[in-house]
């Protein structure tokens, strides 16, 4: 978001937002490393992939993916409220149209938490079938890619808590507050897009 035009003669890109995007582009390279591991092993061991990929519960993961994508939508609605400098709801909890940034971010948090919990349940099921992290090359890369992504989602959830908590600290919802909310949404959308790519590679691409 642009910086506050009333606070100076020059409007320029918000430094925090640009910095966040530059950092996220380096995060992209982090995930590039994971994708490189995944596709190299997949090319080396097609037999292993043919054996393991059918063991995955694709509809389950697809629903989980959908939950994460929807959480991004709620997050964006929260961003619109943050940009309008409206931290909390002006009506009752049932009047969704009058929600502020806080309510939307709490909803985003709940959806994100459901996604991570769903992934934990999936891990538990796979481990109970004997597919542990050290079982074979496929399982290693599966837990490495989805796990490091899961850690990113969890970090995003913590960021949401901190940003929601911040709204209680000041009487006036400032631009600095709104900037924090907006850049957290950038991170969330980025992690969401990375998951879509991971989901397509791991679950849909097959052997």
């Amino acid at each position: 978001m642009p910086s506050d035009p009333v606070m100076g003669p020059v409007t320029r890109p918000n430094m925090v937002s640009v910095g966040t995007i530059v950092w996220l582009s380096s995060e992209l390279m982090f995930f590039a490393g994971l994708f490189a591991i995944f596709f190299t092993l997949r090319a080396m061991r097609p037999d292993l992939w043919a054996e393991r990929v059918p063991m995955l519960d694709v509809p389950y993961a697809a629903i989980n993916t959908l939950i994460l994508v929807i959480s991004s939508v709620w997050c964006q609605l929260g961003v619109m409220k943050a940009e309008a400098l409206q931290p909390s709801r002006t009506g009752s909890l049932l009047q969704v149209g009058k929600w502020g940034m806080r309510e939307w971010y709490v909803l985003t948090y709940i959806f994100g938490a459901v996604f991570v919990s769903g992934q934990v349940a999936e891990y538990a099921k796979l481990v109970s079938e004997g597919i542990t992290m050290s079982a074979d090359a496929w399982s290693s890369v599966f837990y490495l890619t989805t796990g490091l992504h899961g850690i990113h989602v969890t970090a995003g959830l913590i960021a949401f808590l901190l940003i929601i908590g911040r709204t209680f600290t000041t009487r006036h919802y400032s631009h600095a507050q709104a900037t924090g909310a907006v850049v957290t949404s950038y991170y969330w959308h980025f992690v969401d897009v990375v998951w879509i790519a991971l989901f397509a590679s791991i679950y849909l691409l097959g052997a």
């Binding site: 642009p2 910086s3 506050d4 606070m7 100076g8 003669p9 020059v10 409007t11 320029r12 890109p13 918000n14 430094m15 925090v16 937002s17 640009v18 995007i21 530059v22 996220l24 582009s25 380096s26 992209l28 390279m29 995930f31 590039a32 490393g33 994708f35 490189a36 596709f39 190299t40 997949r42 090319a43 913590i158 901190l162 908590g165 911040r166 600290t169 000041t170 006036h172 400032s174 631009h175 600095a176 507050q177 900037t179």
Partner: protein, 133 residues
């Protein structure tokens, strides 16, 4: 902001072309290079696209104007802390967590607890006390 946008778009275009050439030369059997190069293009495209989006909403900056003056750049740049100890505490917490993975797992518990303290302290630094905004 045209020069910035163009610079990142050139990075994107260059790595896309090189990535495809790499794929063709290696007969699409070596995936590390293909993915790294094409996602390098993504790295440039991401920043280029973002700057383009931002530039559409903003008027020309003084540095974009050939007749611009230095003094026109005065004004609000953002919210900055004059100094901060929190990054140091967060660094120590991260070091403890890494030490834990290398030496003994129980150290991670202390690193994580200290990390919570450091992150909360850093995030709320400008949002409590007499300088709260």
């Amino acid at each position: 902001m045209k020069p910035e946008i163009q610079m990142f778009n050139i990075i994107a275009g260059f790595f896309l072309v090189v990535g495809v050439i790499y794929g063709v030369v290696t007969d699409w059997t070596e995936w590390v290079g293909v993915i790294a190069l094409i996602l390098c293009a993504g790295l440039g495209a991401m920043i280029g696209f973002y700057l383009w989006m931002v530039a559409r909403k903003l008027p020309l900056r003084p540095e974009d104007d050939l007749d611009g003056e230095i003094e026109q750049q005065a004004g609000y740049y953002g919210a900055f802390t004059p100094y901060s100890w929190w990054p140091l505490w967060l660094g120590i917490a991260s070091a403890l967590i890494f030490l834990g993975t290398a030496v003994a797992w129980w150290i991670i518990a202390f690193g994580a607890l200290f990390g919570v303290f450091a992150v909360v302290g850093w995030v709320y630094e400008s949002f409590h006390g007499e300088h709260a905004r």
